[in-house]
């Protein structure tokens, strides 16, 4: 892919998508730049997953244009899917194959080099290499899904709610992984409904509701813009919250199942 720091790697323009009579996405536009972590935020049903899957080429587009590194997604969805890394919201793999075997299989499906051990090491699953996915914990399964998404060494990753349902340690571990992938120079588009996660990980976020973009900027700019309107929290600012207490008591180390 072309690497130009400020160029748009993903360009979405006036995207529309409906399921029957229900309009899930209504005229969404945004760009994702090289090397940034871009977050799609919103409550359940806001259209986050639909937008992500149309950009990935997993769902057909009703109206509008989406390009990924200059490739039109509507015209070449398979081409786009082969060049990006995708971790779906609900990921399932073949049963009765080990992690190493699955990574080898997916490498062949992408026509990529086999490097299962390295990928497992990167996501912290080296010790589970000969286990099957169903025996992994929720956090381990999410990390394995990301390992599979990295099989074709993609410069752009799509992560759909990667930390939903994970305990605090597993979530922090996944955050570390996302930061590491960003340091490698990869661009990442993720969806989440955890605001602290978006604030921690994302360079820019688009806040969505009812299939529309309500705001799009860096988390800091969005906060400052809100404060500029005179908004003030009624509660006193805490220097720690319950999650900090939880992590202090139970430790930050990831619990392996």
């Amino acid at each position: 892919m072309n690497v130009s720091p400020d160029a748009a790697l993903v360009a979405v323009h006036d995207l529309h998508k409906s399921y029957g009579e229900v309009a899930a996405v209504r005229g969404v536009s945004f760009e994702v730049r090289h090397g940034e972590v871009f977050g799609l935020l919103g409550p359940n049903g806001a259209g986050k997953t639909t937008i992500l899957e149309t950009v990935e080429g997993m769902l057909p587009i009703d109206r509008g244009t989406v390009t990924v590194d200059g490739v039109d997604v509507s015209s070449h969805p398979e081409r786009v899917r082969r060049r990006v890394g995708i971790s779906l919201q609900r990921t399932a793999f073949f049963e009765r194959l080990t992690l190493v075997e699955l990574l080898g299989l997916f490498a062949d499906l992408y026509g990529a080099r086999h490097r299962a051990e390295r990928l497992l090491e990167r996501v912290g699953l080296s010790e589970q290499a000969s286990r099957q996915v169903r025996t992994l914990s929720g956090g381990q399964q999410q990390r394995f899904a990301i390992a599979v998404a990295l099989v074709n060494d993609p410069p752009l990753l799509f992560l759909d709610e990667p930390t939903t349902g994970l305990d605090p340690q597993a979530r922090r571990s996944l955050w570390d992984l996302v930061e590491y992938l960003r340091l490698e120079g990869r661009s990442i588009v993720l969806t989440t409904h955890y605001m602290e996660e978006a604030q921690h990980l994302c360079d820019r976020v688009a806040i969505l509701d009812h299939g529309r973009v309500l705001a799009l900027d860096t988390p800091r700019n969005l906060v400052e813009r809100l404060l500029a309107t005179g908004f003030r929290k009624d509660v006193a600012v805490q220097r720690a919250d319950l999650e900090d207490v939880f992590l202090d008591l139970t430790g930050r180390q990831l619990r392996e199942g």
């Binding site: 990935e56 080429g57 997993m58 969805p77 398979e78 081409r79 786009v80 899917r81 082969r82 995708i86 779906l88 609900r90 990921t91 399932a92 793999f93 073949f94 049963e95 009765r96 194959l97 075997e101 080898g104 299989l105 997916f106 062949d108 499906l109 992408y110 026509g111 599979v148």
Partner: protein, 354 residues
């Protein structure tokens, strides 16, 4: 090509690591063959034949003796009028009329061609023993009368050896196994992959559906060869069945392709996994029934079911059991190829990753 090979091996690994799902049906069918041998000693129901011998020669006596020796027929001698009566009453399943000029010679001493008249009760065991009758007559013709064929009968020309239970059962057993592992397993597995999201994850790699389907077909076929080989080894050991392997391979390959495509079409057409499995079962069981009882179906029903793919599998297997080779099953293979083409196109049209 890597994707196809890798997916095929992955499917085979999963089959081998799940032996209960993969091999229980074949094991049950093998057990069925063993039980049949133990309980019934491999004997088929006998066909009761009333012979009307107008010739009363040593040659006609030799033919009747061959008929008795075949082991499939209970032979009695009757007058023409009595034979018709016992056939009408159902006391016998078949009558065989040997004409007066049987074994007659012309001026140069050569046998005069004659035609045996066979009448049988449709829908009885007699129908399925016609090939055996034909075999006895051909054997008599070659051995007794020499190289010049002179005796003919007006029934389906199938070369047959002495008939036994395995001739009726084995084609149905093989068809049962093909339907079980190709149609029902495919529909269930595809539906499961769809409902759990495995197919969506594969879709995300951008691979073609054709590669996915053909790799699954290849793995199922390899599994089917192992299963069928086990069944045939038992059939060989217990019943002495020898089949032409090339013809068997072609018949099985097309059979698997047809029923896999049918399973795929069902799982593509019906998105819900449990419903797809139920529909596959409701399609499979009547066909298994037809396959197992093909020899005993009433003529009216058979005239319809003979166009179903299972009938070409069982018909082909019957021809192979009777010693046939590739040319003998050519029509069955052609029909199966036609069915495979139609069902693959239909499956391709309704296939959905999610």
């Amino acid at each position: 090509m890597n994707a196809f090979r890798s997916l095929t091996f992955a499917n085979l690994k999963m089959y081998v690591r799940n032996p209960i799902a993969s091999f229980s049906l074949a094991a049950a069918l093998v057990l069925l063959l063993v039980l049949l041998k133990v309980v019934f000693s491999g004997q088929a129901p006998h066909t009761r034949v009333a012979v009307v011998d107008a010739s009363h020669t040593a040659a006609s006596a030799a033919l009747v003796s061959d008929l008795r020796a075949a082991g499939t027929f209970d032979v009695t001698s009757e007058s023409p009028a009595a034979a018709r009566n016992v056939l009408d009453r159902g006391d016998v399943d078949m009558t065989l009329a040997i004409p007066a000029d049987f074994d007659a010679r012309d001026a140069s001493g050569r046998p005069v061609p004659v035609r045996l008249q066979v009448a049988y009760r449709a829908g009885t065991v007699a129908e399925s023993s016609l090939p055996a009758l034909r075999g006895v007559v051909e054997g008599y013709d070659e051995v007794v009368l020499g190289e010049v064929p002179s005796v003919s009968i007006s029934i389906t020309p199938v070369q047959a050896r002495a008939s036994s239970a395995i001739d009726f059962l084995l084609p149905g057993v093989v068809a049962f196994n093909i339907i079980g592992s190709a149609l029902m397993l495919a529909a269930g597995v595809f539906a499961n992959y769809k409902s759990t999201g495995v197919l969506r994850r594969l879709k995300a790699t951008g691979i073609s559906p054709t590669v996915f389907v053909l790799s699954h077909a290849a793995a199922t076929f390899v599994l089917g060869i192992v299963q069928t080989a086990a069944i045939l080894v038992v059939a060989e050991l217990l019943y002495g069945v020898h089949l032409d392997l090339v013809a068997l391979f072609l018949l099985m390959m097309l059979g698997y392709l047809v029923f896999l495509a049918l399973g795929l079409a069902i799982s593509g057409w019906i998105r819900d996994g449990q419903r797809a499995t139920a529909v596959a079962q409701s399609v499979a069981f009547p066909m298994i029934f037809i396959g197992l009882l093909s020899a005993a179906l009433p003529a009216g029903v058979a005239s319809v079911t003979r166009y179903l793919p299972v009938s070409y599998v069982t018909d082909g297997m019957q021809r192979l059991s009777a010693g046939g080779q590739v040319p003998a099953v050519g029509a069955d293979l052609a029909w199966l190829l036609g069915w495979a083409a139609v069902l693959l196109v239909a499956a391709g049209r309704v296939f959905r990753w999610d």
